[in-house]
Symmetry: C3
Amino acid sequence: MDLYGRDLITTQEWEKWELEEALDLAARMKRDRFSLEFTHLLEHKTFIMFFYNPSVRTRISFEAAMTELGGHSQFMTPSAGRFKTSKTAGETVEDAAKVMARFAAGIGIRILEDKVPYYGAGTELLREYARWADVPILNMADDRFHPFQGLADVMGWAEWYGEGPGRPNYRALEGKKFVLTWAQGALARSWCSVQEALLIASRFGMHVTLARPDGYDLDPEVIEWTRRNCEENDTTFEVTNDPVAGLDGAHIVYARNWMSPNAYQDGEFKKQEEIEKAMKITGWTLDAEKMARTDNAIFTHPMPVDRGNEVTDEVASGPRSAIYDIAENRLHVQKAVMALTMGNL
Amino acid sequence: MDLYGRDLITTQEWEKWELEEALDLAARMKRDRFSLEFTHLLEHKTFIMFFYNPSVRTRISFEAAMTELGGHSQFMTPSAGRFKTSKTAGETVEDAAKVMARFAAGIGIRILEDKVPYYGAGTELLREYARWADVPILNMADDRFHPFQGLADVMGWAEWYGEGPGRPNYRALEGKKFVLTWAQGALARSWCSVQEALLIASRFGMHVTLARPDGYDLDPEVIEWTRRNCEENDTTFEVTNDPVAGLDGAHIVYARNWMSPNAYQDGEFKKQEEIEKAMKITGWTLDAEKMARTDNAIFTHPMPVDRGNEVTDEVASGPRSAIYDIAENRLHVQKAVMALTMGNL
Amino acid sequence: MDLYGRDLITTQEWEKWELEEALDLAARMKRDRFSLEFTHLLEHKTFIMFFYNPSVRTRISFEAAMTELGGHSQFMTPSAGRFKTSKTAGETVEDAAKVMARFAAGIGIRILEDKVPYYGAGTELLREYARWADVPILNMADDRFHPFQGLADVMGWAEWYGEGPGRPNYRALEGKKFVLTWAQGALARSWCSVQEALLIASRFGMHVTLARPDGYDLDPEVIEWTRRNCEENDTTFEVTNDPVAGLDGAHIVYARNWMSPNAYQDGEFKKQEEIEKAMKITGWTLDAEKMARTDNAIFTHPMPVDRGNEVTDEVASGPRSAIYDIAENRLHVQKAVMALTMGNL
């Protein structure tokens, strides 16, 4: 039983021990980043990165991951419309995936809400690739999930409640209070990072509070999975529309803007309307006053941070901000998962 | 006498033994893909890929080829208009090529019909680069030729009529019947793949039949070369406008859409008119009924396949479809030619 | 005292012995390009290249540099507008730089005049990155400076007045006469290359003459630095509006078009007006007749050359043209500086 050949669409679909195996390897890789133990694991192997949506951080970290493992990541920006559909001539995903699997050891895909006709279509494209490709399909963020962000998050939390960088303690997270709170902003952010955070926080035994204004619910299925994860771990899951009350006694606060469920209408992604609606809501910037209500909580965020809107500089750059450590962890968890799924460890 | 420093514009310009040397190395590389014998052949060397036209398959396979040989391919998308012309200020090809040769071990160029002012101008650009660059110029598909597709094709055919993947038998192709047939479709495909297929099939001793509707002739010079190749090998070359009759007794059937010779008019590439004209022609989809007339022929295609138009799913995904093996061979023949021309083997 | 961790924004900010250390290593690397002594210096390390402006030569040479040092360069084309400004939501340079420094061993930035709101804003962006990133920021050309071109230039001059490729003699340049002359052309070139040339020529002990039509002055601060460099070396610095007289007795002639100081107006870069103004000026093409006035001078240019406008073919391709050797030197000086600043030599 190993992880060779496995896809990673969302952490929710991996067993807890599988996530722990990846996280353990990530910590070892962080402690000794350029060790010969690791730098040849994917030597001369190719990883294909399909960026339907651009990204700086995800691009750099996935490409660096292969470089550090001895292989090479190819950066590609496909147009979503190149495949055969009811309206367009083109290649089937079956043919594309089967050929790519002949060339590459794995395929990463990033496709967010503005590139798909309806919510969930991004994840569906990944599943279609996974169906046909003989090599792992790794989710570099789609419209629903962002598993590598979730892994980087929980690794970072466990480092802050453990013995520091490269020395996470996942047991220490059990029973801690995790608060995910909506935040102001003009960027109509995707759901993928915050949904993955709910899943991974509940998976690792934390009490979970979700605070958001009315009208800013997330994917019902993800909420249901989060509730079930909490039940299985005997922890609580609460939802509130109060931007302050839920913070009492929190150990980890995740403040992030996201779009409302009405962002998709008539097959279109209404970004401008989302921004206008969000800009009318006040009182949801995370600041030092709010943080004072917590149990000396750490601040967590997947970056890029919209400073001044989502969070004040005082909190984002403060002594309890875990954002840079977590950003770095993206590299380590990606290296670990790539080595395990593509490298036959 | 070796291949170091040689350009590859079309297989027709290489001696038969030179093609065989490349194909033999490709088979060895396929049998033992990541052997230390091969992974250091181009270590720390740079190959520049100029994609005037985008491509997924060609890009992945050329970039992976360098990774597997220890080097690195740079992906570039130049605008065709950056050079000095009678109308624009800019750099000469002479200067560009001479400088690149200082940095790189070889240069690949892909430039198709829609990026050039007249048929043949793509090949001419490659020859201009080859004139000035001290390093090999490799044709990653131009408006006339596609040598690596031709090599991948013949390697795949010889594998299917040999002992399977990595064990081609080129003698077994001699005297077999090869049919290239035009096929329906809305994509107005380039001539380069099918022309290279005619050249390589006739070069390796096959009887060749070209079936196409009236008005879909190919490059007269390529046809003449094909005829001459057949003469030299004592095989037949036939041209027909019947979509069915030529298939009788065929061993290899290549069904592919292509544009008509009228695609260029007044210095413009009339893609939309080509598509409309092609869509009116029926009876040219390759299906199981047609394949039943052959001598249990294999189906070959350079991909991407326009399923339902060029060929039915039954044939494309059937037990005699060689398309994925041939697609994979692109990697192996490219590695072999790059190692021979750039690696001083 | 070493160069590890140092930024390179302009050669003027490095001590003379630091420049010499880099140039000495570059010559060793040129003499034995793929020596094991060098090919592992940055093994498995990542260099991020931000090309706000596209470039063929700079891209190829920086990417090849990392390949030859064992690492990998990531090619990125950011939009200048992605950062938080008074008008746009977005990420701060602080956050972006801090995260990138977790992934990469160094960051290169290219940003020219047409991507910034006023002259100097390009250099300022590099300084802002340098302020926050814990890894070296290397200037791949901004609106003011082009340090790697300057290093490649002086290395090439010293090779031509030394013992040839890879055997530069920097002492031989002392007391020689360097002429930078404006040249005709329709490309409204940046100031960065020619300004860096003034700085490096004056730094290495040459007499400097700047010839340009009235109205084509360069950055007053760079002119002042050049004057001071000459004073410190006891050499002369002259400015003239005569396209011919200054060439008398010259040893090195650098002919290049550049835009006027009026290119920026009301926060806009007026390229078309610059081109029209420049096209009215005649008599500034460097030709063999002019070169005959020199002391058998070499011709130097950062390329791409606008042949026929900036210089005649006879001079650009003549026996005293150093342009290809200098272009090649870009690779070697970049490798040397990267190894010294990022590789902990």
